[in-house]
Amino acid sequence: MSRPSPLGTVLRWGLFAWMSLVIWAAFFYAPAAAGFQGQSSRIVFFHVPTAWVATLAFLVSCIASIRYLRSRDPKEDIRASAASALGLTFAILATVTGSIFARIMWGSYWNWDPRETSITFLLLIYAAYFALRAAIADPERRATMSAVYAILAFVTVPFLVFVVPRIYWSLHPDTIINTQGRIKMDSRMFQVLMGSLFGFTGLFSWLYSLECRVEGIRRRRQHEVL
């Protein structure tokens, strides 16, 4: 059994300390935003990063899928599948945190706001990706077809994220990068949000590398059994 590298251990502890600091700062350093009910605005420090990671995972999955189609290297298929699995998890987390915020601010957990609609589509696309993987027995064909589907799905994302909210009127607060290209946020809130985005991206990278290794081991075991 290989021992973990010292750098990896330092990075993992660094990530633990950073995320602890982000959680502390989200509740005790950043002020509550004006115009929101009670402390509800603090959920932004967790909701936005989970939504960001869900989208980032989609991008990673799409890039790995393109690389698979070019190289036919099974490692790229493992990367695409691992990124999609994490993307699905983070999309569920973004939906749940958004739903809690919606209940506090608008009185209902779900009202088909364009942003809620977009994240639902993203969840459905991820779920469909895994339904496709489950329906093809041959590993090479499964990798190719799911890579093609991941790319097809990725091209619809800009329409979901940018076009659908423009066509429908939204209750959702202005996104961080709004149509005026200006950041409307208290500086301390902005610092915590950036810190949280950085921390969640680090968390995704760690989970992603773990998931890739686990999937690699699982496939090697399957290969040995067969």
């Binding site: 329906a135 064909r141 190719t144 429908y168």
Partner: protein, 226 residues
């Protein structure tokens, strides 16, 4: 170029001839659409919707009927090649892009026939009136093409998988939901006679159709030759 068009036309003519022998796709699409329309007309009818809600709700119901009917038969074009074991012969005798163009044309024409029968029936049974006929026809045409190009690609993917029927809907609908939203908004604008609304929705539909066409041209040979 002429050769490409002639060969695509030959694939289209072959599909049309085999379809008229069995009429599986045509019957599935037509009967599904008529049954759904009868159910919608019986349960909701032309007068149970408040006047203010009519443009949006009737546009939404129309596209839901068309989308679900499309899910019932547009996969046949590739599934039948696998079922009858004619796909290898087609692979040997035609370039992948020729096959893609022929199948796309076949699905587009099939949808065109469905829309030509369904829409007048829908207008009669649901009391659906359109203010901007030209805008409505443009939305129908662009929507039909984008629906056909997306489902053609998904049909090519699922033809090589297990439990194809269910998988076709599962994979297609998440990719088509943004299109459904744009088409409902465009049709609503056409009903209300808003040229600006029709143009905004058309831009989104044509962009999505264009992106899907480019991605399909690049990826179809990969799927077809797998």
């Amino acid at each position: 170029m002429w050769r490409f068009l002639a060969e695509s036309g030959a694939v289209f003519a072959k599909d049309l001839r085999t379809e008229f022998r069995t009429r599986v796709a045509l019957n599935a699409l037509g009967l599904f659409a008529v049954t759904t329309l009868a159910a919608v007309s019986y349960t909701i009818g032309p007068y149970r919707i408040a006047e203010n809600d009519r443009p949006f709700l009737l546009a939404a119901l129309l596209w839901i009927v068309i989308f679900f009917a499309a899910m019932a038969g547009l996969d046949r074009t590739f599934v039948k090649e696998e079922d009858t074991h004619t796909a290898p012969l087609l692979r040997l005798s035609a370039d992948p892009l020729v096959v893609w163009a022929g199948k796309l044309l076949f699905n587009f024409v099939l949808l065109g026939v469905l829309i030509a029968i369904l829409v007048p029936l829908y207008m009669v049974l649901m009391g659906f009136r359109v203010d901007s006929t030209a805008g409505f026809l443009l939305v129908l045409g662009a929507g039909g093409y984008t629906l056909a190009v997306t489902t053609t690609m998904v049909a090519a993917i699922i033809a090589r998988a297990m439990s194809r029927g269910a998988l076709f809907s599962v994979l297609s609908l998440p990719l088509l939901l943004p299109l459904l939203i744009f088409l409902i908004q465009g049709t609503r604008a056409a009903v209300e006679g808003s040229a600006e609304g029709v143009s905004e929705a058309l831009r989104a539909v044509v962009s999505l159709g264009g992106v899907m066409t480019v991605v399909s041209v690049v990826l179809f040979p990969v799927v077809w030759n797998e």
